[in-house]
């Protein structure tokens, strides 16, 4: 089958918020921003807060980025038309979107700890959240994953174990912070550059 080329990516630019989080940028429209809340009622599983900051190569926080996360529910099921293994938690959307704070650069998601999801061979992957980052200066959105430091399954995860050099896998692991929260900082460049994916 002949394949058409994908539309070329272009940077989201400094004003991505107008389109994707207009209410957060001061434009009152749509009865609220999509992805601002990941829950529509009481959710199953462990509720967590994921916090972080995106840093550029000079160590400066990005104050104009947009972050999206996508994940399974506490049972490992996705709230998706393509989920065929079962029915996901009806009160959990699995998707969140946040602009980084225009003063501090911080972002925050109130979500649940995802359950494990199988890899191609049926083996369970370690619990993880898929993350996508766009901003001015980023020509094509950056995919990565957030794993959790308190999961023993990290040691056998099919993605974490193929990272070279192995010490870079640590860039994908969120650190336990205060009760119920995890810290996940992203470094676009430098000695701690986050592992990004071509998926």
């Amino acid at each position: 089958m002949s394949q058409a080329p994908e539309t070329p990516s272009q940077t989201a630019g400094p004003y991505v918020h107008i389109g994707c989080t207009p209410n957060a940028s001061g434009i009152a429209i749509y009865q609220g921003d999509l992805g601002a809340s990941m829950k529509t009622g009481p959710v199953q599983g462990q509720e967590i807060t994921l916090r972080g900051t995106v840093f550029d190569g000079e160590g400066t926080p990005l104050r104009d980025a947009l972050i999206e996360i996508w994940q399974a529910d506490a049972a490992g099921l996705f709230r998706s038309a393509n989920e065929t293994r079962g029915v996901a938690d009806p009160n959990f959307l699995g998707w969140g979107r946040a602009a980084t704070d225009m003063t501090t650069g911080g972002f925050q998601f109130d979500t649940v700890k995802p359950g494990p999801v199988p890899w191609h061979d049926g083996q369970m992957q370690a619990p993880h959240i898929t993350m996508w980052i766009v901003a001015r200066g980023i020509n094509i959105g950056l995919h990565t994953r957030v794993y959790f430091e308190d999961e023993t399954a990290n040691a056998t995860d099919p993605i974490l174990t193929q990272i070279t050099p192995p010490n870079r896998a640590a860039t994908l692991i969120a650190k336990k912070a205060d009760a119920g929260s995890y810290q996940f900082d992203i470094h676009l460049q430098g000695p701690n550059e986050t592992v990004f994916f071509d998926i």
């Binding site: 400094p14 107008i18 393509n82 959105g141």
Partner: protein, 240 residues
């Protein structure tokens, strides 16, 4: 159901580091990306129902305007289809757009350009594609604007698009330009796209057939998201 997405053509897509676009210097990852076949986490995606949409969400001329008023500028219809690389229309996809006004000014607290705000123009719109992937927006044609890049740099008139397909692997943000804009070959941000046919793929064409008599000109702009490996379709039930 299995079926991984076709790998992204990284020679066709812009590289991370493009020094002529200055903002990429400190924001481009330096290490090679880690490649792996898409898994459930990338082949699934949230569903956005048509029920989230208000009647004016895809009409930027009116969706921020006072009662009885409308945004200033050349009235245009932007329309097209969202397809995948296999040539199939992508239905139910969320398309969000944002743009400067007819003077080249964005409604944003960090915006410093001297062109005035239009009180009747917010600059954002959204829609969900129909069964065949079709979409349309009514808006005003934005103006070119200058941006800090170390020289006398101007953006061609453009509209930003965010595309949400049926798998998170398809997630894409791009920009649409207008046929005939003399800034197109000069822009360092569009210049990160090296192939002339890729530039052409980002350029909307005047479409007189959809132009509305005595009302608005039309521009046609199709967009393409990543397709699936063909084995996926052999297992896919008709109509899914």
């Amino acid at each position: 159901m299995t079926g991984s997405y076709l790998p992204r053509d990284r020679d066709w897509q812009p590289p991370a580091l493009t020094p002529s676009y200055r903002s990429s210097l400190a924001r481009s990852p330096q290490s090679a990306l880690l490649s792996f076949p898409t898994s459930l986490s990338e082949e699934t995606s949230p569903v956005f129902g048509h029920d989230i949409l208000g009647p004016l969400d895809n009409d930027l001329i009116l969706n921020h305007a006072a009662e009885g008023e409308s945004a200033i500028g050349p009235r245009i219809l932007v329309h097209g289809r969202l397809l995948d690389q296999n040539g199939r229309g992508v239905s139910g996809a969320l398309i969000e757009c944002w743009q400067a006004n007819a003077g080249g000014r964005y409604r944003h607290k960090n915006e410093g350009y001297i062109a005035p705000l239009d009180p009747n123009f917010g600059g954002c719109g959204r829609t969900i594609t129909g069964p065949d992937g079709a979409y349309q927006f009514k808006t005003i044609q934005p103006a070119p604007y200058p941006f800090p890049n170390g020289g006398n740099d101007w953006r061609p008139a453009h509209i930003h698009f965010s595309l949400f397909g049926q798998g998170f692997a398809q997630r894409l943000i791009t920009q649409m330009y207008f046929e005939g804009d003399p800034h197109i070959p000069l822009c360092p941000i569009l210049g990160v796209v090296k192939d002339q046919s890729a530039v052409d793929a980002l350029t909307a064409r005047l479409d007189m057939e959809r132009t509305i008599h005595m009302d608005m000109r039309a521009f046609k702009f199709d967009m393409v998201l990543r397709g699936r490996n063909q084995t996926y379709f052999e297992n896919l039930k008709d109509g899914m």
